[in-house]
């Protein structure tokens, strides 16, 4: 398959992830949609690596995976802390940083 196909798939997944971030209210699910977007980026990187023929893109994708893992860790830690304080797990309710 031509590389372009992979890029199109990547674009679709990215946009689906973006729509999910905007639509869902559970912060857990929002994080999952963020993962979607990151994975879409990964796919694009690897497709380009294949295009160029060197492994740079793959290393980049590996590092992105590392970053995603760290972000998930911290994000879930936050959500657990919110849950422990009996606050509602709903981004629409958690809006004190406003004005």
């Amino acid at each position: 398959m031509a590389i372009g196909w992979y890029l199109v798939v990547s674009a679709f997944v990215f946009c689906i992830g973006a729509a999910g971030v905007l639509l869902r209210r559970n912060p857990l699910v929002i994080l999952l949609c963020l993962e979607l977007m990151l994975n879409a980026g990964n796919l694009a990187l690897i497709a380009f690596a294949r295009m160029h023929g060197n492994g740079d893109g793959q290393i980049f994708a590996l590092i992105v995976m590392v970053v995603a893992a760290c972000e998930v860790t911290v994000g879930l830690g936050l959500i657990v802390a919110i849950y422990r304080r009996r606050l509602p797990i709903d981004v629409d309710e958690l809006r004190e940083l406003q004005g």
């Binding site: 971030v21 905007l22 929002i30 629409d92 958690l94 809006r95």
Partner: protein, 672 residues
């Protein structure tokens, strides 16, 4: 020592006095602020004597000496320096000012002994003397304006000295506002003159005046008339005179010092000092002479009907200042200043004696209640008599010579000045009349209860202190008059002060007896050497002189005789006269309705403007439209922007995605 060194010393002592008293009053024991103040002015007087000795040691051409302490700024062609000018005119003034002030300080030490604000009084009084000395010693327009303004401030502080009396504070405000109008006139006048001469220094201005200004030059006339506005405000001439009677709210020593001997003479000094300018602009001088004449007549008529003893003396001051203003405006400089000199003596004496009798009445000032104090207050009575005779221009008292000389030289000018001459003598008759009305009413006749008490040796004491003007009750704490009163018979400082002034009132005239001694003329000659008018009036015709002397004596004695008849012999005449001459009586009693006129023309419109500005303009336009509008716009804008910070995470994300889409679109479009 040089005259200017003495000049600086003259200024330094009262300044030191006021600083010491105002800063250290808490630690100064007992009544020492009073003595410190008196000593400061005594030292100042001694320095003034030193100055006159020093200046007489110089030849006549070199008797105008200046000394500059420092330059304030010498840019843009404005030469503002701290300069004093010591010449015969200023030495004359500082001798009068410091001499009379010294005696008044002495008098006040006893008079205000029980007042809670004793130290404050002397601090203010020393400050006033300092300012007045600064005014007359000023060597340029800048320092003159500074001294002028300080004197106005000191007057305000002292008039409203008993500040918890509403009448006093209102009087102080009235005096200050009218004085400020005069200040504005003074500064604008300075500008008009400075515009052409380019210098603020007096001697340089006078030197250049004939070259720079044509005869009756429009700018010069305008400038001189504005200077006259300043002079009239300070000297209580029509139409800026309404503050002087109200200023009697201040303690009696204040009235004696400021509103008789010194501050109100500042206008006379100003015209005398600016004589080269006034001689170059005779139109302005004519205005001065006419206003002076008008004032002296009007004040004399008003004094006939007033019942507050201090107000009678106040109107008499206004009238005598009118004589002085008229004198220096027509060119009789030495004569006008001579009258200033004698007037300082007998007017301060009259005020001090009035203070004594008011004290005997326990603060009551109305002539209606005072009667028959002759036996109870002998010393005060004698002082009143001497002062009154001098004021009425009875020979051989001092007032006779000085008033007479002014009128003589006025007539010598000729032309329309004869009208001033006639009015002047009519008012001299009225002067004698109202002065002795006051004396006879207060000291002759059946003794009043307070007088009877005093004859038995007991000074009357009021149960509740009251405001003499309105009768409302007050107390004797800070801000009000003290509980105790002192009469001259019982306190030696008052006696010494009044005695000295009485001697001066009697013999003071002998320094300028026509054809015999001309000390004042000779002394002041270096200052007025450049005056063509003084030259012209040097030798008035003898016939006019004799007529004047005789007329003055006759009118004075006639006035006294008429007063005696009305108020001593046949007391009922006064009441019937009042009914028969109803309209003139009412006009006189209401002070020719000047207060009402100024109220309608100036005060009410100003108050309306103020109310309009506050309630309508300020609230609607400034607060509502401008401030509210500006803040409203900002508030609306920031509210709109604030809407973005909703706290909704998803909105932020939406904005992000939308922004990303927009940027991508932009790049797509650009690259296509």
């Amino acid at each position: 020592m040089s005259p200017t060194t003495w000049g600086w010393l003259v200024l330094a002592f009262p300044l030191a006095g006021t600083l010491v008293i105002s800063l250290a009053w808490r630690v100064l024991p007992g009544r020492s602020p009073g003595w410190i103040g008196t000593a400061a002015i005594a030292a100042s007087f001694a320095s003034a004597v030193g100055a006159i000795i020093a200046i007489q040691g110089r030849s006549p051409e070199h008797r105008q000496v200046t000394s500059t302490a420092w330059d304030y700024a010498n840019t843009v062609g404005v030469d503002a320096k701290l300069t004093i000018l010591v010449d015969p005119l200023s030495i004359f003034m500082i001798l009068v000012i410091s001499g009379v002030s010294m005696l008044i300080h002495l008098y006040s030490v006893t008079y205000l002994f029980s007042d809670r604000g004793f130290a404050r009084f002397f601090a203010y009084l020393n400050f006033f003397v300092f300012s007045m000395l600064l005014l007359v010693l000023a060597g340029n327009f800048a320092i003159l304006v500074v001294g002028w303004a300080f004197v106005g401030a000191a007057s305000y502080l002292l008039i409203s000295f008993w500040y918890r009396r509403t009448t006093a504070t209102q009087a102080g405000l009235k005096a200050f506002v009218i004085n400020v109008i005069g200040d504005v006139g003074l500064v604008l006048g300075t500008y008009f003159i400075f515009k052409h001469t380019g210098t603020l220094d007096f001697l340089k201005t006078f030197e250049h005046a004939p070259d720079v200004f044509a005869h009756n030059d429009a700018d010069l006339v305008a400038g001189c008339i504005l200077l006259l506005v300043g002079a009239f405000a300070k000297s209580a001439q029509v139409p800026l005179h309404t503050w002087l009677p109200d200023a009697m709210e201040g303690p009696t020593p204040v009235s004696a010092l400021i509103h008789a001997a010194t501050m109100v003479t500042a206008g006379v000094y100003l015209i005398a000092r600016m004589h080269p300018l006034f001689e170059r602009a005779p139109a302005a001088a004519a205005v001065g002479a006419i206003i002076g004449c008008l004032t002296l007549f009007m004040a004399a008529t008003i004094a006939l009907t007033q019942t507050d003893i201090k107000r009678v003396i106040a109107y008499s001051t206004m009238s005598q200042i009118g004589y002085m203003v008229m004198g220096v405006s027509v060119g009789a400089y030495a004569a006008g200043l001579f009258h200033l000199f004698t007037h300082a003596f007998f007017k301060a004496l009259l005020f001090m004696a009035a203070g004594s009798i008011i004290a005997a009445m326990a603060g009551e000032q109305s002539l209606d209640r005072m009667r028959g104090f002759r036996k109870a207050l002998p010393f005060t009575y004698v002082c009143f008599l001497l002062g009154g005779l001098s004021l009425s221009a009875v020979p051989p008292f001092s007032g006779f010579f000085s008033k007479d000389e002014i009128l003589l030289l006025t007539a010598d000018r000729g032309g329309w000045h004869w009208a001033l001459y006639v009015v002047g003598y009519i008012s001299a008759f009225l002067t004698a009349l109202y002065t002795f009305r006051m004396i006879f009413r207060a000291f002759h006749g059946e003794p009043s209860p307070e007088a009877r008490e005093l004859e038995h040796g007991h000074l009357h004491h009021a149960e509740t202190p009251t405001n003499p003007a309105t009768g409302e009750e007050e107390d004797t704490d800070v801000g009000f008059a003290g509980p105790e009163h002192w009469i001259a018979e019982r306190s030696w400082p008052m006696k010494v002060a009044m005695g000295t002034l009485a001697v001066g009132a009697v013999v003071g005239g002998f320094v300028q007896v026509p054809h015999v001694t001309k000390l004042v003329d000779k002394f002041l000659e270096p200052t007025f050497a450049d005056s063509s008018l003084a030259e012209q009036l040097r030798e008035p015709p003898d016939s006019l002189l004799i007529i004047g002397l005789v007329l003055s004596a006759v009118l004075g004695l006639a006035g006294i005789a008429l007063a005696y008849r009305i108020w001593v012999q046949r007391p009922g005449i006064a009441t019937s006269l009042r009914e028969r001459l109803g309209l003139p009586y009412r006009i006189s009693l209401n002070k020719w309705y000047w207060d009402e006129l100024l109220d309608t023309v100036f005060v009410r419109p100003a108050a309306w403007c103020g109310r309009f500005a506050q309630q309508t303009f300020e609230r609607v336009v400034v607060d509502g439209l401008l401030v509210g509008g500006a803040t409203g716009v900002v508030r609306a804008g920031s509210a709109a922007v604030r809407g973005m910070q909703s706290g909704f995470l998803r909105y932020y994300a939406a904005l992000l995605i939308a922004g990303l889409a927009a940027i991508a679109l932009y790049f797509l479009l650009v690259s296509s």
